[in-house]
Amino acid sequence: MKPRDVFSYSFSAIRLRKLRAGLTTLGVVIGIAAIVALLSITQGLQDTITRQLQTGFATDTLIVSPGGGFGLGAEGAMGTAGSGFKLFVNDTQTINEIENVSMSMARIQKVSYIKFGERVQITTIVGVDFAKYASIYSSTFVAESGDIPPNPENDTVVVGKRVSDPWKNGTLFCNVNDDVEIIWTNATARPPKNETYIGHVSAVLQEIGGFGVVGPSDSAVYIPISKAESFFGTDECDMIIVKLENDDKATIDSTSKAIRNAFDKQVQVMSATAVLNILSSVFSIIELFLGGIAAISLLVAGIGIMNIMIVSLMERTREIGILKALGMKSRTVLLVFLCESVIIGLMGAVIGIASGWVLANIVAIVFRGGGMVMGNQAAGTGGMTITPVLTPTVFLGALAFGVGVSVVFALYPAWRASKLKPVEALRYE
């Protein structure tokens, strides 16, 4: 029998049982849609996070922080990991002498309050050298309004977009040229005491979006490093950001090692590449996990196909007998049944990929509308936008998986059909 005839024969059998075939296909559609939606959202999330990390975390920089434990150097999250080792602002001098280092800068940060008029919001006060910070993060530490002075006054304050416009509706908390009150609770003083000073907003940063893991954040307030030292009463810093002469892997590795050695291995050095690698492997695990869950639904669909094929086989036993009496080979009977499942699998996969893609986009729009926006938190994210990504691998993989599962689960019924003895099949009522 010619392939085209096998196909049209199989198709006629499916068409005869539209509802049943439709429901079987629906099983495949749901499985494939789940896989495609979950994977393309995860992929989109990974892309978003990676992109945001890359903008907020230049690849030619290293982050030096105290301690030997694991940490991403996230704002407000660093500790000294037991050893009691502390980094100080002037440790940058040691680092500057190391080969390949083009510059370094210290960063002090504390969770504080910012007050304007009667309104108060919690924020992170970050003390940095404005000129160096702007040079390292030249694409994100950029004023939307006002100016970031390279040599700021003591009371100069630069605020993130979400500090200025926390509700995203144009109702501003504060704006350029406003005088704001910075309030920090010194918990080590006895009794604990609120330190305050009046700062002058010289610039509002343009919106960055995403997490300011190390680089500028929408929800932070920036003050000169010297002011931070005097205001917080310490020259201990949370991290030192090191700009390298290039972002070659060899340079990153050797400089990281040299910095660790310079501080007697009491510091940890993170590079953007390392963080991205960790993230990427975390996402692989998430993808595998989500893909696995979705695959289970496809497995259920596969069992549905098997069930339907066995029922179909029983109903069509006599038909198979006729086909064999007319001279159809066992192999062709097998092909007819497999072809039916391929048609179901292919239709299910194609519809499933399309609906999974639509689903992923709906989820992304829902996320965009709210939920993920946590602009008011001190160490929070900016708003995050996920754009689902359907990679060719996911597309082809889903297609192959849908068809593959259908074929695998149809193998047994098809094989049984092909092995029917013509005389018994013809006698079947």
Binding site: A13, I322, L323, L326, G327, K329, S330, T332, P422, V423
Partner: protein, 231 residues
């Protein structure tokens, strides 16, 4: 003595035993007969006499327990599954219950056996129309079996059986499921095919009147041939 012509079908000491539950049933107990080209043989016998079992053996649908079936000189027992399928394409089956595929039209049913034999679409379409004309159903070729009478369905089945120019037609109670008036039409058609087109026919029946239309009748009882009559 040298054999001059090869018989279309020849059985030698054919035996078939099958189990009915746990009881062995000797359906065929040594059947010997020959059918030559152009013959019209009726196998007559009451139900349970083994005639359907015999038909299955000759049609290569089932394998004998012992003895041989030769079809055009080829020992069927030596053929593998694929070769048996090829052989069945050259045998035209007509069943008591027509056994048409309900979702196909008359023409598609006739075409099916040709598509199994790898015939091209255009060729089989033409041949199907010709065959349906032969059996007098050209006007109703686009009807599905459910829209046809029993007699018409059987004529479609005959057209289908003729599709791959078979070596012989194998008919199992071809009029068993249709009214007597239509049955005589079918008998007329069968006789015409045999006399005018030289189609070799082997027909199984329990109907004495139908058998009397054949050129030769073998009577079966309890798995053996008891009598042979030449009309």
């Amino acid at each position: 003595m040298m054999r001059v012509t090869i018989s279309v079908v020849e059985t030698i000491n054919l035996r078939k035993t099958y189990l009915l539950g746990k009881v062995p049933v000797n359906a065929l107990q040594g059947v010997n007969f020959k059918v030559d080209k152009g013959d019209f043989l009726a196998v007559l016998g009451p139900s349970g006499s083994g005639k359907s079992t015999l038909l299955n053996m000759i049609g290569a649908l089932d394998k004998p327990t012992d003895g041989k079936v030769f079809i055009e000189g080829v020992d069927v027992s030596t053929l593998n599954d694929n070769q048996l399928a090829d052989l069945r394409r050259r045998i035209g089956f007509v069943f008591q219950f027509f056994n048409l595929i309900p979702r196909f039209t008359a023409r598609e049913n006739v075409e099916l056996s040709m598509s199994i034999a790898d015939m091209s679409r255009a060729e089989r379409r033409k041949q199907a129309e010709d065959l349906l004309e032969t059996v007098g159903l050209k006007e109703r070729m686009n009807h599905k079996p459910a829209e046809l009478s029993g007699g018409e369905q059987q004529r479609v089945a005959i057209a289908r059986a003729l599709a791959n120019t078979p070596r012989f037609l194998l008919m199992d109670e071809p009029t068993g499921n249709i009214d007597s008036k239509t049955a005589s039409e079918i008998v007329g058609l069968i006789k015409r095919l045999n006399e005018e087109k030289g189609v070799t026919i082997i027909m199984v029946t329990h109907d004495q009147r139908l058998a009397s239309q054949a050129k030769r009748v073998v009577q079966m009882f309890d798995g053996v041939i008891t009598r042979e009559i030449v009309n």
